[in-house]
């Protein structure tokens, strides 16, 4: 809250530019995944700086997008073959964010027209997933819906249509939830000021999600020294097995 007060103070103190500006801050610039990690919550907050300090009469539209690293994925759909559910058809998508959350002051379709929503990728429906296929738009849509559905149910694609709180038409804030299965990598928070279906101002803030301490060490070890890691795992298994086996047979004997 002190950050908010400071921001408010700064907005009022600095001479205002000709176009509105966004001043933003994240509650943390790094999310550490330690052994007790069970998800996290990121607070994105900031202020709108209007030219001449004049606040327009109508309430501003704000969209806050937090996205994780993108990767290529294969989406498969199960179908029944001879009574058994098997993966039948698949589609490859080249640019799928591992995490995507959008919080807005109103549903995206009420804030923006289709074109602008697609340009800025505001709203899960407007993500550019880059399907690699010769199939028709209906089929692409079908697989996109499937992909989005799976990610949404795992908390990896989040839409909060009324997730942005506005105070005094100047301050805004949103809480973005991260599930425990969030992918690691560089993230970005993007904040958009929207009026009359147009983006008036945009600000970004970087965010890093990474494993720390033991978790990070283990992951690096497993990926850089696979054989050694495997031997350690086997050693651990054999050691504990021998210990238990000997302990019990001594007690019997």
């Amino acid at each position: 809250m002190r950050g908010l007060a400071l921001l408010l103070f700064l907005c009022l103190a600095i001479p205002a530019p000709a176009a509105p500006r966004l001043v933003t801050e994240l509650s943390q610039s790094r999310i550490d995944i330690s052994y007790r990690f069970a998800g996290a919550e990121l607070l994105v907050f900031g202020a709108i700086q209007y030219p001449g300090g004049r606040t327009p009469r109508e309430a501003p539209g704000i969209a806050i997008v937090v996205r994780g690293p993108t990767e290529a994925v294969i989406v498969r759909e199960k179908a029944r073959v001879a009574g058994i559910w098997v993966n039948r058809e698949s589609m490859r998508f080249e640019t799928v964010p591992g995490f995507y959350a959008v919080a807005t002051t109103a549903p995206p379709r009420d804030l923006l027209d289709e074109r602008n929503a697609a340009i800025y990728e505001i709203g899960v429906r407007h993500l550019q997933l880059s399907p690699v296929t010769s199939a028709g738009p209906d089929k692409v849509r079908h697989f996109e819906d499937g992909l989005v559905g799976v990610r949404a149910r795992r908390g990896l694609f989040v839409e909060q249509p009324y997730g942005v709180r506005i105070t005094d038409d100047v301050l805004f804030r949103a809480r973005i939830p991260f599930p425990s299965a969030v992918p690691v990598g560089p993230y970005q928070a993007e904040i958009y000021l929207i009026r009359d279906e147009q983006v008036l101002a945009r600000a970004t803030a970087p965010l890093i999600v990474d494993k720390s301490g033991f978790e990070r060490g283990m992951w690096l070890f497993a990926h850089q020294h696979g054989l050694l890691y495997g031997l350690l795992a086997v050693g651990l298994a054999v050691g504990s097995g021998l210990a238990a086996g000997n302990l019990m047979s001594r007690r019997e004997g």
């Binding site: 993966n87 992918p183 495997g230 504990s240 238990a244």
Partner: protein
């Protein structure tokens, strides 16, 4: 209670995993099976990715088999010579299995293939055991002496070359037979994350004609080596062994294995086989349902990298 797994990249309730290890260890000590046929599906059920579940349960199987094998070895209930040929076949099978696993993964059919193989094996092995053990229990109830099974290899096996004596099992047998059996089980170990004891134990009794007294120990002996090789293959090829997950499973598993072995010592053998048969059939039915009932999630997402 939540703990984050570095390789599975998600958090789980650690007490639940330890309890799971305990339960599976108990089964493994009691029946001389690795228990992987329970661990892998149960881990997947808690949301752990299938590849990580398969690889980490291989590690746990090593631990619980060592724990069990030690006791059997002290009671001279391990046919090391027979076990050696099983291990040799098993190692070849593990390498073949890892190639097959990668191929299936690329086709996107790994889950359903594993599911179908599971159902087929569990149902057929469980069915055979059920019939045999019920007959034995009935015979015992009528006061008849237990039917003496002719302890010899099935017909055809004696035509294989290089026959040699296996004194501890009291058999003269071609080493090709245990080698092939080991190879087959090795493939299963790798692609299904199981020790293969539930296939190995009946096969040694009914196919090779080994005496029941050395079957469990010899099966565990082979599982130790093949599951260790499977862990190494998974660790080097796909980096899917989650050491923390394996450690949690081991804590429960090694304790459970000892408790199971003690319980088994107090129960008659045919009763034990009946329980195992029912367990196998139960898991088979459960898996059959997951294959045939409309799944909650029709779509699945797989990273295209690697």
């Amino acid at each position: 209670m939540e703990i984050y797994l570095p390789i599975a990249e998600m958090s789980v309730n650690w007490a639940l995993i330890v309890a799971l290890g305990l339960l599976v260890g108990f089964m493994s000590g009691m029946f001389g099976v690795g228990g992987g046929f329970l661990t892998t599906p149960l881990l997947v059920f808690t949301g752990i990715p299938a590849a990580v579940a398969v690889a980490s349960s291989a590690t746990q199987i090593t631990g619980s088999s060592v724990s069990g094998a030690v006791g059997h070895y002290r009671r001279h209930a391990v046919d090391v010579k027979m076990g050696g040929f099983l291990v040799a076949g098993g190692l070849v099978g593990a390498v073949l299995g890892s190639l097959l696993f990668r191929w299936l993964q690329k086709q996107g059919q790994v889950d359903v293939t594993i599911g179908i193989i599971y159902v087929l094996f569990l149902a057929s092995v469980g069915g055979l055991m059920l019939r045999e053990s019920v007959a034995a229990i009935r015979a015992a109830a009528r006061g008849e002496p237990p039917a003496r099974r002719a302890r010899r290899p099935v017909r055809g096996l004696d035509r294989l070359p290089w026959r040699m004596p296996f004194p501890r099992s009291g058999l003269v047998l071609s080493p090709v037979a245990p080698f092939l059996l080991g190879l087959f089980v090795g493939v299963l170990t790798l692609i299904m994350g199981i020790g293969g004891g539930f296939v190995m134990v009946p096969a040694m009794i009914y196919l090779l004609g080994m005496p029941a007294s050395v079957v469990v120990g010899t099966s565990l002996f082979q599982i130790v080596f093949v599951s260790a090789a499977a862990t190494l293959l998974h660790a080097t090829q796909s980096q899917t062994v989650d050491i923390l997950l394996a450690a949690l499973l081991l804590v429960g598993g090694v304790v459970g294995a000892q408790l199971g072995a003690r319980t088994a010592a107090r129960l008659p053998a045919e009763r034990l086989r009946l329980f195992l048969a029912l367990l196998l059939l139960g898991v088979a039915v459960r898996l059959l349902l997951t294959l045939t009932v409309t799944p909650a999630e029709l779509f699945s997402i797989q990273s295209a990298a690697g």
